[in-house]
Symmetry: C2
Subunit: 106 residues, 2 copies
DNA sequence: TTAATATTATCACTATAGAGATAATTTGTC
DNA sequence: GACAAATTATCTCTATAGTGATAATATTAA
């Protein structure tokens, strides 16, 4: 995975698209936007609105939060954390506190 | 904190702005964008580009990832997780696996 | 090779993002 | 109350986001 922190929007779109092994054309169709637009985004020739980047994220099968997260590793952890029940969540908080004795977590 | 999942962009901007106890005017100055623009965003009358939402997030003192995260609780956990050393990270992974015996984490 | 099909590139057009100026309104302080 | 300073509302204008049509290029099959 490993997508860097300082990549551009276009680079990130392309990265996630190639993850899915689909063409610009296909992504455009899945997203419900024009092909020329997806192309311009990837090339950095257009600055997408949040609204349209959301469409593209939908086409990519990810959320905006996923899109802007620093790396996929963190995302997997986040996803795992979101599956937790409230009780398990408390256990996790306690666990993290045990790793950071001084800091207060949560 | 507790900002909901399905709020609009404008509602989220306003939420974070009021968290900071600053005016629309001040946020615009901090963000380096016009006051009328921040106003329109909050009212949902304009759909900001990612680029300009990023400016506003800077003015709010948060990241785009923070902006799109479902709630602050998750963010605190994420922040705590990011402080971990690689070894501690492995411990966390093992911990999460112990909570989800069937799923594969990481 | 040629034909058929999918993908990418280019370009002109319309809608709207974003700025800037200023009027209206609010929030003080005297 | 009146006056000053800040905040918000409104409006016009320019730059650019996003589309659609089509040309160019690549891919596959026969």
């Amino acid at each position: 995975m490993e997508i860097g922190f300082f990549t551009t929007i276009g680079q990130r779109v392309k990265f996630f698209r190639e993850q899915k092994h689909i063409t610009v054309n296909k992504l455009a169709t899945l997203s419900g936007v024009s092909q020329s637009y997806v192309r311009d985004i990837e090339l950095g020739k257009k600055q997408p609105t949040v609204e349209f980047l959301e469409y593209i994220c939908f086409g990519l099968g990810i959320t905006l939060q996923d899109f802007f997260s620093d790396n996929e590793k963190d995302d997997d952890l986040t996803k795992a954390i979101k599956k937790l029940t409230p009780q398990q969540r408390k256990m996790l908080t306690a666990f993290l506190e045990s790793l950071h004795p001084t800091d207060e977590v949560q």
